[in-house]
């Protein structure tokens, strides 16, 4: 006997539940966008906004407040200080320190006088605001163009409505991830951008698998109602959908647990992305295909 998570011949009514799913997704998306607006935009990391990040590791226990006190009346006075692993801190500011001398005067001297030499500066990153703005523009541009490219490819291989369904599903996933990042007040960094790319890839992969089954079943049963076909297809691919998502989820979970501080944000975003990428390929892309179908039918009726 082989192992089966989902028994063959399963028949769950997905199409009937899609209404609720759409409502759920619309609410989530509104919350996501609302959070970004409420926080007055994203908390952009230095790669996008420019500025400096300094990572300092202390040899003994130190609190963020102690560091803040040490940096009082320096140029780093208004920087954000965040714990990052054991006795390790990130100091962030929107100023770009290009000169090591300024950095020494504003960071090393005050830290040394407060904590002696019991610390190590492990990382200094400085990005000019012009470069940040440039990168921001390029990232948005590249993402949107990649969406258009996929739209064209899927339209060519499938149909336009399938393409729209797939793209809306992944835009939905990206919005929800951005919303999560915003609600948790996480910094929007390169890691999050990488996660967004991952989710785009994962979500579209998942959607194509489901829609490919729909296409196949439409060919096999041209008379049947599309709603039934979609339900059948989702059920047929359900076992695969759950298996794939589970394996990817496990991998990413390992990354989240064992990957360390540097990978932490990336792994967390990937976890969010895997869950919603799976959900959206069933509950977002399929209803949109169905919606197009209904629109076409009503058009045809009017023509007659």
């Amino acid at each position: 006997m082989s192992m089966e998570l989902i028994k063959p011949g399963i028949h769950l009514d997905f199409v009937g539940k899609m209404k609720y799913a759409i409502i759920f997704s619309v609410i989530l998306t509104i919350i996501a966008i609302g959070s970004v607006i409420f926080h007055r935009g994203l908390n952009l990391g230095i790669d996008f906004a420019g500025g400096s990040v300094i990572q300092v590791k202390f040899q003994k226990e130190v609190s963020a407040d102690q560091i803040r006190t040490a940096l009082k009346s320096t140029k780093l006075e208004n920087s954000t200080i965040q714990q990052f692993g054991v006795n390790e801190f990130l100091i962030r500011t929107h100023e770009s320190f290009n000169d090591q001398k300024i950095l020494a005067a504003n960071l090393e001297q005050p830290l040394t006088s407060a904590f002696n030499k019991d610390y190590e500066i492990r990382r200094v990153e400085v990005v000019g605001s012009k470069v940040g703005a440039d990168f921001q523009r390029k990232a948005v541009f590249a993402v949107i163009l990649s969406w258009i490219a996929m739209l064209i490819y899927i339209t060519w291989r499938f149909e336009f409505r399938y393409a729209v369904g797939g793209i809306i599903a992944l835009v939905h996933d990206v919005l929800i991830l951005i919303g999560t990042v915003s609600i948790l007040n996480m910094e929007f960094t390169i890691s999050i951008l990488a996660a967004i790319f991952f989710i785009i890839g994962f979500s579209i992969n998942d959607t194509i698998v489901v829609l490919d089954r729909v296409r196949e079943n439409v060919k096999l049963n041209p008379k049947q109602k599309l709603g039934d076909i979609i339900n059948m297809s989702v059920n047929q691919t359900l076992s695969r959908t759950i298996l794939t998502s589970l394996t990817v989820f496990l991998t990413v979970l390992a990354l989240y647990i064992f990957g360390g501080a540097v990978i932490h944000d990336l792994a967390f975003s990937l976890l969010v992305g895997v869950v919603f990428g799976t959900y959206s390929s069933v509950f977002i892309s399929c209803p949109i295909v169905l919606l197009f179908e209904n629109m076409q039918i009503s058009k045809m009726k009017r023509k007659k």
């Binding site: 082989s2 990005v127 470069v131 695969r240 064992f258």
Partner: protein, 533 residues
């Protein structure tokens, strides 16, 4: 495609061996030297986020290069116009990259046009405005030539920086032009980032100028700078207190000789205090010029100016033949060594601005690498166990394909000298996910076919065929998106896209082709009654 199983096995083995071949330098550090000449040299490059080191993005101020060009041209033009007896006054480099002059003769414009056409084909008249007793003329550089000049400036800067970094002795530097006027520099594992930054970013324009001793320095400091003179500062260290102070000099603006005339520069311990000095040797033309210059200016002071700062201004005792000179000053040994390097490598044709700077300490880099590798291994092991438990033997076959997939991606990364960064790891994870998905798709289809009562061979055949188009579509969609990310993205975006494309291509090969080869091999060689799937 390839019907013969033997050919398909040969292809699989060849591809795997090729990938392993490129991975030898990455995983085996002490290869016997008699072998190493047959092996590739390149390891997988790790990005700074994973390895530590320094990352710089420089912007070359090409406008400044253009202005410097116009400054030189204006001096030459002055002489040319005097030679051809065109009457003019107030010829100077005006704001931005233009030259303005007043012609004081009605026939002046035609004469000026002649001179421009014959000797300065790069210049054109931008505007003329009539003035009392003549006209005001603005000259500018032709647009096409300006673009060429800027491009040359960037190329020249790139080469100079490469030279400097090479001479500094940093292993595996990456120096890549980016966009129109940017240069990306990656220096892995560097110990003293500040020193490297100074070495790379210093313009290192060396000039020899005569000190003006006929006019009063004090008068000039009050604001009355004589025409053709400039004030420059040098530093002087008080030997007793050790404090550094600024010393002003009044110099003739005309540059007699530049660092371009140097043949080489090296550090010497010259004086009895053991202070290092940088000794210069001019090339043949430079030697002739230096001989003439020193001959014409005996008993005067000759200032050695580096990037506008006077390093020393010794008195010329006698004509100096042989083309040797020295820069003394208060250097540390490292400073002297770096100065010699930048002088040998030549001046940057334009100043550079640092737009982006990242330094990651080696301890942080190795921490994140260790944890990243461990997490990836644990994640991959989880997938491998999962597949075996769920799909038994077939799962094991998929696992072999998965491992080959990872080896292929790493091998291609090593062969093409691509850099693995954190976003790159995200890309690899995505492709591992997609590769496993491809096998799950195939296996689920095979199970469906088996349930309808088909034979093992037929079920395999149909399963693979049915899943094939789906797999092609998922992979190509991913590749199409990634190609766009490469075309329009930079740095980290590209890092993700490159590994994704390599990974998806590898996955097409391993998940579809390699697994099928293994299945066919088993079925054709062993009489299997029931497929373990």
């Amino acid at each position: 495609m390839f019907k013969s199983l033997k050919i398909r096995i040969a292809i699989t083995v060849t591809v795997c061996l090729a990938a392993l071949y490129f991975l030898i330098p990455t995983f085996i550090t002490n290869v016997p030297s008699s072998w190493s000449q047959y092996l590739p040299k390149e390891k997988i490059h790790l990005g700074l986020d994973l390895q530590g080191g320094m990352h710089l993005v420089l912007e070359i101020d090409t406008e400044k290069a253009l202005e410097a060009f116009m400054e030189r041209t204006s001096n030459n033009l002055k002489e040319s116009l005097m030679d051809t007896k065109v009457r003019f006054r107030n010829l100077e480099k005006a704001k931005e990259a233009t030259i303005s002059l007043e012609l004081t003769d009605s026939a002046g414009k035609a004469a000026l046009e002649n001179v421009l056409r014959d000797q300065y084909p790069d210049l054109e008249i931008a505007s003329t405005t009539p003035r009392e007793g003549g006209q005001l003329v603005n000259l500018k550089i032709k647009d096409k030539r300006a673009i060429e000049l800027k491009k040359l400036t960037v190329e020249h800067s790139l080469e100079t920086i490469r030279n400097r970094v090479d001479q500094f002795g940093i292993a595996e530097p990456e120096i890549i032009p980016e966009g129109d006027n940017r240069i990306l520099i990656q220096l892995p594992g560097i110990k003293d980032p500040e020193r490297a930054k100074n070495l790379i970013g210093k313009t290192a324009l060396l000039e020899f100028k005569v000190v003006d001793e006929e006019n009063s320095l004090d008068e000039a400091l009050r604001g009355n700078i004589p025409e053709g003179d400039i004030i420059a500062y040098g530093t002087r260290e008080d030997k007793s207190t050790g404090q550094r102070g600024q010393v002003p000099y009044l110099l003739k603006n005309k540059t007699l000789l530049t660092g371009a005339s140097l043949e080489t520069a090296k550090v010497q311990i010259a004086d009895r205090f053991g202070d290092p000095t940088v000794s210069l040797k001019f090339n043949s033309q430079g030697s002739i010029d230096f001989d003439r210059i020193t001959g014409e200016n005996v008993r005067k002071k000759l200032a050695i100016v580096l990037d506008g700062v006077v390093h020393s201004a010794p008195v010329i005792q006698e004509r100096i033949s042989g083309g040797q000179a020295q820069i003394t000053g208060t250097f540390t040994m490292d400073e002297a060594r770096d100065l010699a390097i930048v002088l040998r490598a030549g001046a940057l044709p334009a100043p550079v601005n640092i737009l982006e700077e990242r330094t990651v300490g080696p301890s942080l880099g190795s921490d994140s690498i260790r944890q990243g590798i461990m997490a990836t291994i644990i994640g991959t092991l989880l997938v491998i166990f999962f597949m075996i438990i769920y799909y038994r033997l077939s799962g094991g076959i998929a696992d072999i394909a998965l491992i080959i997939n990872i080896v292929l991606v790493l091998g291609v990364l090593a062969a093409f000298r691509a850099t693995l960064t954190l976003p790159g790891i995200a890309g690899m994870l995505l492709t591992v996910g997609v590769a496993v998905d491809a096998n799950i798709l195939i296996f689920e289809r095979i199970r469906e076919e088996l349930r309808t009562g088909k034979t093992i061979r037929l079920a395999l055949e149909t399963g693979y065929n049915r899943a094939f188009m789906t797999i092609i579509d998922t992979h190509i969609t991913g590749i199409v998106a990634a190609v766009f990310l490469i075309m329009f993205g930079t740095g980290p975006i590209k890092g993700f896209a490159v590994t994704t494309i390599i990974g998806l291509l590898a996955s097409l090969f391993t998940a579809v082709f390699v697994t099928r080869v293994i299945f066919d091999y088993i079925i054709w060689n062993y009489n299997i009654k029931k497929l373990s799937i």
